[in-house]
């Protein structure tokens, strides 16, 4: 396991460095440069030059990269000149709300997908399987904002049960729970469409394994074989699937937050995109990427801890 751990950590460090390089590169690909972005097109050449010197933009690029990386590692991601706040403060405020939204959505999606995928696998190529496959394909084929709109139409306009925006988030646990239902539902449905396909095929693969026949032959009832043997083995790929799905979930949260006005990183990013607030845009991209890398690392470590073939391999 130590060898695996070392290799996996090494990969993570390389990927994180490359992410930082890409974000730094994008920072310098800004049209007109970072200074023009702050001062606007009408600034005098003198003012532009002055700010460029102040921000260290006249130094060679590798030096700038190291300085920027040093700042980023210490949590200094620049300053939002539109919101007049350090980017790190904004991220610290918005990021936990994302953990809440995506965490709940992923947990619920797993809780639904596992039994659903297993049911489809046990009844494969029968009516139930086809019916659910059809529904899931339809969900999978919808842009996530359309999914959210359908949720709004059904649960807000037709049956006025839930608020259609999450703007009131942060006014006590009761309101928070209420405004979160639709965003979580939207994000969750997209994930269910994605996860349950894998659970289905993983369970089908396991059903064909020799150990199932052996367990049946020694007299175990089907229910016991399915729960104790098949489902346990099929759950292993789900752990790594969740790790792989992080970029999808985070991307989905961007749409969901823009649609429901949920004040998370997605909404922060979207607002920054509308106002061309580049330090915020790049800070958000850096943080969500790091979160995804760390998340997949944790998923892989969990997988390794659960799977004896890797643990002792």
């Amino acid at each position: 396991m130590t060898g695996y751990l070392a290799r996996r950590l090494g990969q993570t460090v390389v990927v994180l460095l490359l992410v930082s390089l890409i974000v730094f590169g994008l920072l310098h690909a800004l049209p007109g440069g970072l200074v023009r972005a702050q001062l606007g097109p009408k600034a005098s050449p003198y003012a532009v030059h002055q700010l460029a010197i102040e921000e260290g933009l006249t130094k060679p690029l590798p030096v700038q990269y190291l300085v920027w990386l040093g700042h980023a590692l210490r949590g200094n991601l620049g300053f939002s000149y539109k919101l007049n706040t350090p980017v790190s403060t904004l991220l610290g405020e918005y990021f936990p709300r994302d953990l809440l939204l995506t965490g709940v959505a992923i947990a619920l999606a797993i809780a639904v997908s596992v039994p659903l995928g297993a049911l489809q696998a046990f009844r494969r190529n029968k009516g139930v399987d086809y019916a659910f496959s059809g529904i899931l394909l339809a969900l999978y084929s919808m842009p996530s904002f359309l999914l959210g709109v359908v949720a709004i139409v059904v649960l807000n306009i037709e049956l006025p049960l839930l608020p259609s925006t999450a703007q009131q988030f942060g006014q006590g646990v009761g309101t928070d729970a209420k405004v979160l239902v639709l965003p979580v539902l939207t994000l969750m449905l997209g994930n269910i469409a994605y996860y349950s396909r894998y659970v289905r095929s993983s369970v089908i693969d396991n059903l064909l394994e020799d150990y199932v026949r052996t367990a049946r032959a020694k007299g175990s009832p089907w229910s016991r074989v399915l729960v104790r043997h098949v489902l346990r083995n099929s759950l292993l790929p789900v752990v790594s699937l969740v790790g792989i799905s992080f970029p999808y979930v985070v991307s989905g949260s961007l749409i969901v937050e823009a649609l429901f006005d949920y004040p998370g990183m997605g909404l922060l990013f979207w607002d920054a995109e509308q106002s061309r607030d580049y330090p915020v845009l790049l800070g958000v991209v850096l943080l969500v990427s790091v979160a995804v890398v760390v998340g997949s690392l944790l998923a892989d470590l969990a997988y390794a801890a659960l799977d004896p073939r890797i643990r002792y391999g």
Binding site: Q11, L18, L26, S141, F145, L146, P247
Partner: protein, 315 residues
Amino acid sequence: MSVGPVGSALATMTGPHAPPFDAVPVEMPERARPVWRDNLATFAANRFALAGFVVLVAIALFCFVGPHLYSTNQSATNLINENLPPSAQFPLGTSPEGFDILGRLMLGGQSTLEVGFAVALVATLFGTLWGAIAGYAGGIVDALLMRVVDTMLSIPFLFFVVLLGTLLQPTLPLIVVAIASVSWLSTARIVRGETLSLRTRDYVVAARGFGNGHLRLVLRHVVPNALGVVVVNATLKVADAILLFASISFLGLGVPPPATNWGRMLTTGINNLFDGYWWQLWPAAVAIVATVVAINAVGDGLHDVVEKRLAGGRS
């Protein structure tokens, strides 16, 4: 069963116009059928895929031939006709700018389909090349190229596309580039995996023994044999690109009006959702979902074809 170029070569040799030695009774009746007919039969056996293909052709005809049969003004706004419900004059009602929605659906479908297919083409070509080089070269080149893929995959793609769209001027070709820049990654991974197994096959080793260069080995011997898997992947890419294009249109990136696409039309419909203008939302929604489902169905059929060919190759 026949596999790839080798199989098709054998098929022609034993076909009806084969050289005289065909007169010797050889029991390979199914080889006499050209590969594409086997493939077509496999594809057509999947009813769902066949239906998907028909729907897809119908949608393409609707978008590209439709405007010639049903001509509407889609460039000049007409505020007298704004937000009208469906009627005899406007079968699907009008938009907030007074555009006929049925005609707009055709126009929006054109750019949506164009972006979808262009992304799939660009991403597949680039990803195939990248993956084939990584898998074929191995060692440090492979590690480096694949770490780049890992890195790009860990940046949530929608954030990356929106950021690129903000930095670049959003014209249609640049939107294609932005979406393709996240779409090629899965192709690269798949092709690398295929190449790793293909490059040690006897025929590749033999071709290398004949003195073929690396480039020729990759392009003539490795890539064509990974093609089946790549084609299935490319089909699904069209669907993903259409969804991604809709999402970035929803986030406000895209070509300025009067140009439109289904995602932009959906967004208009969402903005007017609480006014009860249902005809501005649902036609575009149905168009997008029907197209994506149809493409997934076609991908499913192609998957069957590839699966069957691979299974045949092993037996």
